[in-house]
Symmetry: C2
């Protein structure tokens, strides 16, 4: 028998078990603690893996992330993308084919240099930090004619980046999970339309379905993807007042086509370079945003369609009358599952109160409390996690009620989050005001000279003095500056938004 | 404008386009050519990526593999496994915690040794060749008490192995896609029951649903997973007479628990080592088996539930009457899609005959041929890819017919494949007979001394003289030897099967 100290750790054991049930932290007062504790107690990510910036994603998080992946994949496919799988390794020479791209990404690459005990590769392989340089040499082989265009492909995979910034589970890591769509068009107009389609998809999926409020921006020229003509991205706001970048999409123009030799024969039999875009929704990061934006002081809150368990059923029998109540609960579970809900009975031997805490912490949207009265009345007492209200529903109508409540919960989460977000946007007219807005965990809206490279000096000054970053101009909404540039005093060409960022 | 040679390659272009439509190769006479050509023409995998043993999986293959993943994930989850995601990188020191395991896998490891331009890691990281040494250090932290057991987790991911053997797309690569389930039990009996559950899952999924015939074996002691007590695996037979190993599962006993310090407190408050199993269905390899086993001389044949397109609709209008037929086809497509079928109209400008070839090559199970007569009669002419038969079905009954035909096609593919497989098993009573059986692309069934290490010398002799491998004893079927060991002449303890292998 092993001689470890597990027996003597009994109290610590009990305490650890207790931690997995209880949760009460103020999300707004101390987001950092809240986030650390919810990760630990709801068992979302484990940071003890032993490689800096790499975490283990645990079951409760993975189940939601898988649901998010399926939603995004379906959305991409319904917009004409087909799935592919490219190798995770990229020859170093591929990476260097586009000059700005290699310069931007090389500092972040993990390199595979050896195999087995004695094989050293002449040319090292990059673990993909992003897949342009893996995919485009193949696109060069596959795309021949205008009939092949538009060419829209995506893959669901992880990428690796040796990040200098501080890592946090989900929000920023050295290995993260995303989808990347890489599209090719005959004309620049079509490519620009794709950028807008991508950002529309972000709105439809991330903002509407996942309920995460965000502004979609065209980024400043000094903050674009390495090698792109321009970058668009969405930002949401976390409770600590920091912006989190959500999916970004890039107009690559024809620069990568030139670099990788991708051409096509047009209808007039001329050979031409096509125009490209790429779009990268990071599921692990969006999940981080999801839990941060929707959670409350009792734990997670999850939109109905992303909850691993949508309905938890808690039997609360009178003493000695367990059988009848449990049988009723099992019937309910089977009925709801056959209706297509992710329903689950909790018939562990924990006390009902502990079960309540446990599943509330995990953000299960609906709880059925089933005692002897419910059995007699053929009903269920339904508890809503978001409003903390109860209603009694006859079991004959339960399926419909759960559909209705599920929708209502998702809408309520979205409404709440949007209200917080809208309230966070504050106009500022001086660097001091920007500082005050950011210190109060808000986003500053300012008048600014230009998003072209000439504006970078002003953006740097804002960064140096306030820690805030200029995030670009809103997509699809023309905003009229009301003052000169807040920094240089020159005429303001744009209205922009400033926030501290992850 | 680029000055490449694309224009002058016009004939080559046309030839390449033609190759994507036509296919006719004899699978049984020259499997190697058949397999190479189907990969190329149906665009399943592309070998031109530029790293030995790494391929790009293209859309038609990925769509089926994704369907296979979803089926396997659902199956694992319905048997109590929960999904997790572990990092792809494993510290070298983890790998060396179990002596046999490190010895078995180190020669196959790709090593990450550097990052960026100037960071060299003190300890290199392995790209996971398999995840025992990634997962079990975390299991050591997570598993505390008998209440945590059984502990069943899985992940869907790729693994990397620097293979010495010749690589072929899907069948053997240096990067392949699998699921790996890692389970922990209080007792060895439970662990052994899990091994049988895993092999039962292989039968239910791979043999019954995917229709790939196979024998499930307990492998000889000299052919087990590095670190395991024993290994079970299924073998199917490819048309070139080579065996392909399908999912394998391993009884790890309590050896990894000792190596990684995994213990639990039992109900009597004693600390004990648990027993472990792991199971690894490789989706990319099963897909390779699928196309090889079911395909025919006209291309792929796919079981109904694995076909990316289940029903292709081909409009065949009279001259000048395109509109009416196409509208009818679009209605059919919408109707079938809303019934849950993956249906797709092909309204490209290719000739109907070319469309037939194209979709037959890709293994689409059903084709609807829609001309003016079908429109008038409100019917569809339904072509079955497997039997090459047609029947006319009123559109009102089309949904039901497609359900029925889909099932029938899957059953027919399974029946055919099973018949070929059953016929391939031949008794052999001497090394010469073994050689003859293998030369005729069959599997030899022989009497053999023992599957314990003492039998390895006899197995090596068979290997040296015939190229055949001893694959173990059948699971769940007790077979009585009818002669002494074919090699050493000692009393035969077992009946075993010998085949050349991938």
């Amino acid at each position: 028998m092993p001689d470890s100290e597990k027996n003597s750790e009994k109290n610590e054991e009990e305490q650890a078990a207790e931690e997995l049930v209880t949760f009460h932290f103020s999300k707004n007062d101390d987001f950092s603690t809240w986030f650390t504790e919810i990760n630990k107690r709801a068992q979302l990510a484990d940071l003890r893996y032993g490689i800096k910036g790499f975490v283990v994603y645990r079951e409760w998080a993975v189940m939601s992330m898988n649901l998010m992946y399926r939603i995004y994949e379906k959305e991409l496919e319904s917009h004409g993308h087909m799935p592919v799988i490219f190798p995770a390794l990229i020859p170093a020479s591929n990476l260097s084919q586009e000059a700005e791209h290699v310069e931007g990404f090389t500092p972040q690459v993990f390199w595979v240099t050896k195999a087995g005990t004695d094989v050293a590769f002449e040319e090292p392989y990059a673990l993909r930090p992003t897949s342009e340089s893996a995919m485009y040499p193949m696109y060069q082989l596959w795309i021949r004619s205008w009939r092949d265009l538009p060419y829209k492909r995506y893959q669901s995979c992880q990428v690796w980046r040796y990040e200098g910034k501080m890592t946090r589970p989900f929000l920023r890591g050295r290995e993260f999970y995303w989808l990347e769509a890489h599209d090719v068009f005959a004309t620049k107009q079509e490519a620009e339309a794709q950028v807008l389609e991508d950002m529309q998809m972000t709105e439809n999926v991330v903002i509407k379905r996942f309920g995460i409020p965000a502004i979609t921006f065209k980024r400043p020229q000094w903050d674009k993807f390495a090698g792109a003509e321009y970058t668009c991205a969405a930002d949401t706001l976390l409770p600590d007042g920091r912006l989190l970048q959500l999916p970004s999409t890039h107009l690559l123009g024809d620069r990568f086509a030139h670099a990788f030799g991708i051409t096509f024969i047009d209808e007039q039999e001329h050979e031409r370079y096509p125009f490209q875009t790429c779009y990268g929704p990071a599921i692990s990061r969006i999940y981080g945003g999801l839990i941060a934006v929707h959670g409350d002081d009792d734990g997670l809150l999850l939109p109905f369609e992303l909850a691993p368990v949508q309905v938890v059923i808690i039997p609360i029998p009178k003493k000695g009358d367990k059988g009848q109540v449990e049988a009723f609960c099992h019937d309910l579970e089977a009925k709801l599952q056959s209706d297509g809900f992710r329903a689950r009975i909790d018939n562990t031997d924990r006390r009902p109160g502990d079960k309540y805490y446990y599943w509330e912490m995990r953000g299960v949207p609906l709880r059925l409390e089933i005692g002897n009265r419910e059995v007699e009345q053929k009903s269920a007492t339904v508890f809503r996690r978001d409003l903390r209200t109860r209603e009694v529903v006859p079991t004959a109508k339960l399926g419909n009620s759960i559909h209705r409540l599920g929708d209502a919960i998702t809408k309520e989460l979205q409404r709440r989050a949007q209200a917080v977000f809208d309230d966070a946007i504050r106009d500022a007219n001086s660097l001091t005001e920007v500082q005050q807005v950011l210190d109060s965990k808000h986003i500053a809206r300012i008048c600014f000279c230009t998003m072209e490279l000439a504006g970078e000096a002003c953006a740097n000054k804002i960064k140096d003095e306030t820690g805030g970053e200029v995030r670009g101009t809103r997509l699809g909404i023309q905003e009229k500056p009301w003052k000169p540039c807040l920094v240089c005093g020159k005429p303001a060409g744009t209205v922009t938004y400033v926030g501290r960022a992850y």
